[in-house]
């Protein structure tokens, strides 16, 4: 028995030439029709991607590139020939031969109604995107009456599923409720929540894997909640702020921003943003520092960043006060 045979493994032969990079197959292209024009699109695309690739701006609220589509807001619906109902562009995969209308009267009505429903039930004052859609589709939320003053409007967190008391007045029920200010880092104003599920996804499988928040309740009373509706400090939250980063309505907001807005000094036109690399650890996350009056007022990360995909941890997101400490010392000295 030679020495070679007694080894339990054989080392690979030395390479003769450097290995070739793997050949990436060009995606298969399929033909579909969008608004009457035939286009060729990679077979793996969604209708939304197809529309975007030909320059059609499709509204989205619950969709974000870095999250799994939940297709719940239905603002992105398009008309698909042969389908009984409209289909959500954000999640529907294209198929060869699809004939899609993105601006038919049915589509426009659906989009207008979705945004009207939201505008009549949710405070959209800090949701610029949603307000833009409301203008674009001519939404008129006053058609449902003024917001209903109801003595139960503040008990949303404890509402039970199932039977409810039938409305008496003529107003429109809303999700209005007090702002939750229970920690130093961010506030939760669920009166502005459109229930897009993005924060739940960012807290769970799509980014943070902490699962501190989930949807509780049912129907109109469904809401984002911690376990048993405990305050954030008592919950599993680790304050990564990734939920704030994905929230499209300002329902989740930096405490710094919230307080400045309360004081009437929040002024986006005076703000600059600067990209830098987080200095806390070796990962190298891109931080975008939003600065007003020479102070950092919030921190985000670009969704296109290959390191963060837009997500950060507590240090990068909230650990900026020390910068001000330096500034303050300089000012003092």
């Amino acid at each position: 028995m030679s020495e070679q045979d007694s080894l339990w493994f054989k080392s690979p032969p030395p390479p003769h030439h450097p290995p070739e990079p793997p050949v990436r197959k060009a995606p298969e292209m399929v033909a579909i029709t969008i608004d009457g024009a035939e286009v060729r699109i990679p077979a793996t695309a969604t209708i939304l991607e197809a529309c975007r690739s030909v320059g059609i701006d499709t509204p989205t609220l619950c969709f974000l590139e870095n999250l799994t589509p939940v297709n719940v807001c239905r603002i992105c619906v398009v008309e698909l020939a042969g389908a009984r109902t409209l289909v959500p562009a954000c999640s529907r995969q294209i198929e060869p031969g699809m004939d899609i209308r993105t601006d038919s009267p049915r589509v426009r009505l659906a989009r207008k109604m979705v945004i009207e429903f939201l505008a009549s039930s949710v405070d959209l004052s800090t949701a610029p995107q949603a307000l833009e859609y409301a203008r674009r589709y001519g939404a008129d939320s006053t058609r449902y009456g003024t917001s209903r003053e109801s003595d139960t409007s503040h008990d949303r967190d404890t509402r039970l599923p199932g039977h409810h008391h039938v409305p008496e007045g003529i107003g429109a029920e809303t999700v209005e409720q007090p702002v939750k200010v229970d920690n130093d880092l961010y506030v939760r104003d669920y009166g502005k929540c459109i229930l897009c599920y993005k924060c739940v996804e960012a807290c769970g499988e799509d980014a943070q894997n902490t699962f501190a928040i989930a949807v509780a309740g049912r129907g109109f009373d469904a809401r984002i909640s911690t376990e048993a509706n405990v305050s954030l400090p008592d919950s599993a939250c680790v304050y990564c702020g990734n939920c704030i980063g994905v929230c499209p309505t300002g329902a989740l907001m930096f405490r710094s921003e919230y307080e400045m807005r309360q004081a009437g000094i929040w002024n986006e036109s005076k703000q600059t943003s600067t990209d830098t690399i987080c200095s806390y650890c070796g990962v190298g996350c891109t931080l975008t520092l939003h600065v007003q009056d020479n102070r950092i007022v919030k921190v985000t990360s670009p969704i296109e960043s290959s390191v963060t995909n837009g997500h950060l941890c507590i240090k990068g997101r909230f650990g900026f006060e020390y910068v001000h400490g330096g500034l303050d010392q300089q000012a003092d000295g």
Partner: protein, 620 residues
């Protein structure tokens, strides 16, 4: 996943209730004794193995809810530890189902049906009475409930008394006094199977095929079932082989009886051919469409037929596991199905190598927890998987991606009950029953203001008028004002439609639907506005809340109906009707699932074919 627990420790009682379903804990992490040697082997600890048990969440919540009358936070945390579920998610599940309570409530709660069939038969006066004797609805003790599936004997109530062994008393017809008495009963013996006869006005008719055994053959006696022809179909299926069975079902032209009327054979064929493994069979016994009670009568009266149908479905589609998902409000059906499953198992008709055929099949009973939406097939999967019953977007369809992400055939109880008939008489012959487009016998749930409400079995082709005549016509000889076909998700038709044959093709042509087989009659004394208000409230209560068109649309629809009823319209009457139409349109077009898509149907049909709220007359 990094779980964080902050709540109180579970009490020994709470742990014991959980352990009745999950068994004793095996590690210190999940609340057991410290055992370093065992715990060194990480496979025993949580992780994938525990997460794979997530589907036990509803069963274990039932154990806790029925023991304590609510789900205490300590018990919920302990469950989360055992099953590796984030507590926030588990809380989301508890607060989704209306038979669970995340807040303390009295040990005894009466669920009093105030849905359509019951409110025209005195449900409101029961509620008023309970308000006086027990207290206001919100104070615990009693709650209003959507349809309890006993409309033929309306008004109905279900009393749930928690404790060491839960007592569930299903009352119909119910009176306030009986409800109060039932709230303190510590023991309850349900009526024998013979009592079903009152719900089957045709009882004794020899030609009944689906209802032939109900009320006559003891549903707890497997040999009686076999003596009356049971399990011959399964033996025939084994002779035919899976392809042969599917060929018979295809040639029978059987259409699903759950509401969507999809060809059953095609569904089975797609699952049989689907490459993913394993395959599953699900029997949809969530029956919660207001006005529907046929599946309950089949399961209470002839559970083996449904089990045999499921077993044949399993054989044909290459599945070895089936789930029967029964709504939580059917305690009698639950007991009978559980007993029938045990009997079939011990006779070798379920389990390994059934009848020496080499085919193995197991069926588990799963109990719902109060959510109409869980009858929607994908919401039902989510519920079995231990989640909130939120429907999935389709495609993909269940035949490709169903329960646990695997190819799944899901069929209604009545659909499956037809399967043994098809194999016994042959598909061709079955197709000869009824009409060209609607084959076979069909069960109709006739309720409301007729002389003899109940479940009726007819061959497809009978007209609406025939059926109402069979039920003895309008009660008290009064005038028929309207009929609700297909339940809350169905449509109203006027007396002009009495000559319409109740077939899939004729109802479709008339813009109506058979839905789940509901035929609810209203005479001219009924306050239609009140009925429409209740239907609107039903959808608002039962929307899962996931998508905007349905979550908000059902609320706006309900508000609008309330305005029409009390005459305080916004703008003109015409403006309101136009707005109602737009609300209906977006719900139909853009909702994720059938609930939102049909939530405006009954109301719109009442405006069109019954002329509810004509402009000049104010409310009604």
């Amino acid at each position: 996943m990094d779980l964080h627990f902050q709540g109180p420790e579970a009490t020994p009682d709470e742990k014991a209730a959980v352990d009745t379903v999950l068994g004793p804990p095996t590690s210190a992490w999940s609340g057991g004794a410290r055992n370093l040697e065992e715990e060194g082997r990480s496979t025993l600890l949580g992780g994938h193995a525990a997460r794979a048990e997530r589907h036990l969440l509803l069963p274990v919540l039932h154990a806790v809810q029925s023991r304590f009358g609510w789900v205490p936070p300590g018990a919920l945390d302990y469950i989360c530890r055992r099953l590796t579920i984030p507590p926030a998610e588990a809380y989301g599940v508890v607060t989704f189902y209306h038979l669970y309570s995340a807040t303390p409530q009295p040990a005894s709660v009466a669920h009093v049906c105030d849905d359509i069939a019951c409110r025209i038969r005195g449900a409101e006066s029961i509620c008023l009475h309970l308000e006086r004797t027990i207290g206001p609805e919100g104070s615990g003790g009693w709650k209003r409930s959507p349809c309890l599936g006993r409309c033929e004997q309306a008004p109905a109530a279900l009393v749930l008394n928690s404790g060491e062994s839960q007592v569930a008393v299903s009352l119909a017809p119910a009176s306030a006094t009986e409800i109060v008495a039932a709230k303190s009963s510590a023991e309850h013996v349900p009526d024998g199977f013979e009592s079903l006869r009152t719900s089957i006005p045709q009882f004794g008719d020899k030609s009944l095929r689906l209802l032939g055994r109900a009320g006559r053959v003891d549903p707890g006696d497997l040999s009686a079932y076999r003596r009356s022809g049971g399990y011959a179909a399964l033996a025939r299926a084994f002779e035919l082989g899976p392809e042969g069975v599917i060929a018979e079902v295809l040639s029978s032209k059987l259409m699903g009886r759950g509401g969507a009327a999809f060809p059953t054979g095609r569904k089975w064929e797609a699952v049989a051919k689907a490459p993913g493994r394993p395959h599953y069979v699900v029997c949809n016994a969530d029956e919660s469409e207001p006005g529907t009670f046929k599946d309950r009568i089949l399961l209470e009266g002839d559970p083996f037929a449904v089990i045999e149908g499921m077993t044949i479905a399993g054989f044909a589609t290459g599945s070895s596991r089936g789930f029967l998902y029964l709504r939580g409000e059917y305690p009698v059906a639950a007991t009978r199905v559980q007993a029938a499953l045990a009997a079939a198992r011990s006779a070798g008709l379920l389990g390994e190598e059934i009848l020496g055929s080499g085919f193995s099949f197991e069926i588990e009973l799963r109990i719902g927890a109060g959510a109409y939406i869980c009858g929607e097939e994908t919401a039902l999967f989510e519920s079995i998987e231990g989640k909130r019953g939120e429907p999935r977007n389709k495609p993909p369809f269940p035949v490709h991606v169903g329960l646990f992400g695997k190819p799944t055939v899901v069929n209604n109880v009545e659909t499956l009950a037809n399967v043994p008939l098809i194999l016994a008489m042959g598909g061709e012959k079955f197709a000869g029953i009824g009409t060209a487009g609607s084959s076979g016998p069909k069960l109709f749930c006739v309720s409301g203001m007729v002389e003899r409400p109940g479940v009726y079995e007819v061959d497809f082709g009978k007209t609406l008028g025939d059926l109402i005549a069979m039920a003895g016509g309008v009660a008290g000889g009064r005038t028929l004002r309207a009929v609700l076909l297909g339940g809350a998700a169905g449509v109203f038709v006027g007396p002009d439609k009495l000559s319409m044959p109740l077939t899939l093709e004729d109802t479709r042509a008339a813009g109506a639907t058979l839905g789940s087989g509901v035929v609810m009659a209203f005479d001219d004394t009924v306050d239609l506005g009140d009925i429409l208000g209740r239907i609107a409230a039903f959808f608002r209560d039962e929307s899962c809340g996931q998508c905007v068109p349905c979550r908000v649309g059902t609320v706006r629809q309900e508000e609008l109906i309330a305005r029409l009823r009390n005459g305080e319209t916004l703008g003109t009457h015409q403006d309101e009707l136009a707005l109602l139409k737009e609300i209906g349109q977006v719900m139909r077009d853009a909702s994720i699932c059938g609930l939102g898509q049909t939530a405006a149907n009954a109301i719109e049909s009442a405006l069109v074919s019954l002329d509810a709220w004509p402009e000049r007359k104010e409310s009604r």
